[in-house]
């Protein structure tokens, strides 16, 4: 766990994100019907979900480790990763909605992908409510770890499997081509992939900061 106190990967993350913001707005993109310049949203919308996915994954990993070890730190990492993931979840939803306003005509157009994203959001809100419902710390840690492990595969089914089975307007679902398949140029890839890595690092950084704050709080409270 030493690397969370090191600076090099945080600097790398900031550089990558700054690069993708500048390049994302300035580089040329292919001129496609309907999409036009809104295709640039892919640099900001998709990385949010990647970042969310990473921190939720880390959270599940530490929930499993908590069940095996019973160490309080593992539970703290799990909850702070979920807290960070929820921020990125909201950002992903909002950036998607803004794009949908221009590409589909409505902020919320009852699309299966949007609906299941909203349901999966409820899943993680339920996780936070569950944590508030239990007072005893060890019991809270154990039960919420179990729910977290239970929720993660269902989130994957909701976000990635169910929308693919139905007719969704979202790229990559229901027979619609994903951006990667036909429309992506190499110039776009040169922005998109660094954006994935950059935002994932930023999400991890936020989670580690929150975790360190919690550690300090715990130390102060424990006399």
């Amino acid at each position: 766990m030493k690397f969370i106190y090191q600076a090099w990967w945080k600097i790398l993350g900031v550089l990558l994100v700054v690069y993708t913001i500048i390049a994302g707005f300035l580089f040329t993109v292919p001129a496609l019907p309907i999409l036009h310049e809104t295709i640039r949203n892919v640099y900001f919308h998709v990385p949010m979900w990647m970042a969310m996915f990473l921190v939720f994954g880390v959270s599940v990993f530490y929930s499993i480790r908590y069940l095996a070890s019973g160490k309080e730190e593992h539970d703290l990492i799990a909850i702070e990763c979920v807290n960070t993931g929820i921020i990125f979840y909201v950002l992903g939803l909002v950036s998607g909605m803004l794009w949908a306003r221009y590409a589909w005509g409505e902020y919320w157009s009852n699309d299966p992908k949007q609906n299941s994203a909203a349901i999966a959001f409820l899943l993680y809100c339920a996780y936070l409510v569950l944590r508030n419902a239990i007072d005893e710390e060890q019991k809270r840690a154990r039960i919420s770890a179990i729910y977290n492990i239970f929720a993660f595969p269902i989130m994957i089914v909701l976000l990635f499997i169910l929308p693919r089975l139905t007719d969704s307007l979202h790229p990559g679902n229901g027979g619609n081509p994903a951006f990667g398949k036909y429309d992506m140029t190499n110039e776009m890839r040169a922005v998109l992939y660094p954006a994935f890595i950059g935002w994932m690092i930023i999400a991890l950084w936020i989670a580690t900061l929150r975790y360190r704050i919690r550690l300090i709080e715990n130390k102060q409270n424990s006399l």
Binding site: L122, A126, V157
Partner: protein, 227 residues
């Protein structure tokens, strides 16, 4: 083998307890019949609704909502009625996997029976518009099995976290909404008499959800019960 033997004994005990008191069964049956009756009266306030375009849609959705709330009520009891000392006794004599497995199987049996009865009662009161009756019946069975597996695990979690009904609803509804959407879709195509082979894929997804949920409960329940 030991696991199966223990599961068998626990299942027998669950059924025997239910047979003696008939509490869950009668309670939920009464719940279903009264809900159906309330809906029947409410629908008859609008004459001519049965002939209208949206009748089939409402028929289908209403049935699933009744089944949903009935199964939440039925299955929430499965861990609530066990007191602490009795649970402690089970844990000394049986493996946790056997306990969750027996509960799941018992709830599956109970819910299948109840949902079939609910379907009969529902068809008695409401004008039946189902095209492919046997397929609809099969969808109802598949739905009640999925509800039971999901709600059994969630009720185990909710029972540990203070036993309140709100928590049960909050925890289970995000999980059950996609299942409900799938079920409404398949059962609607059964009502319309759509070619059966077109819904195989959806059945496969339901089956996959069941397998995932049962596997997760078998893995996670041992961590849940120990205090």
């Amino acid at each position: 083998m030991e696991l199966l033997r223990q599961t068998g004994y626990l299942l027998k005990k669950e059924i025997l307890l239910e047979w003696r008191s008939k509490y869950a069964f009668n309670g939920v049956l009464l719940y279903i019949v009264s809900t159906v009756f309330v809906c029947y009266i409410a629908f008859n306030l609008t004459p001519g609704f049965e002939k209208s375009q949206g009748y089939a849609v409402v028929w289908n959705v209403l049935f699933w909502i009744i089944i949903l709330f009935a199964s939440v009520n039925a299955i929430a009891k499965s861990f609530l009625q066990e007191n602490r000392s009795r649970l402690l006794y089970y844990y000394t004599i049986a493996s946790p996997q056997a306990i969750i497995l027996s509960k799941t199987i018992y709830n599956t049996l109970l819910m299948s029976l109840l949902s079939v009865l609910a379907l009969v009662v529902y068809m008695l009161f409401f004008n039946n518009t189902v095209g492919d009756g046997w397929w609809y019946f099969l969808v109802v069975l598949a739905g009640s099995i999925t509800f039971s597996t999901v709600f059994t695990m969630v009720s185990a979690i909710a029972a540990k976290a203070g036993n309140n009904g709100t928590l049960m609803a909050i925890l289970s509804f995000p999980v059950i909404i996609p299942v409900i959407m799938l079920l409404v879709k398949i059962s609607k195509s059964a009502m319309d008499g759509v070619e059966r082979s077109l819904t195989y894929g959806n059945f496969a997804v339901l089956g996959a959800i069941n397998v995932i949920v049962i596997a997760i409960s078998l893995i996670l329940f041992p961590f849940l019960w120990r205090d």
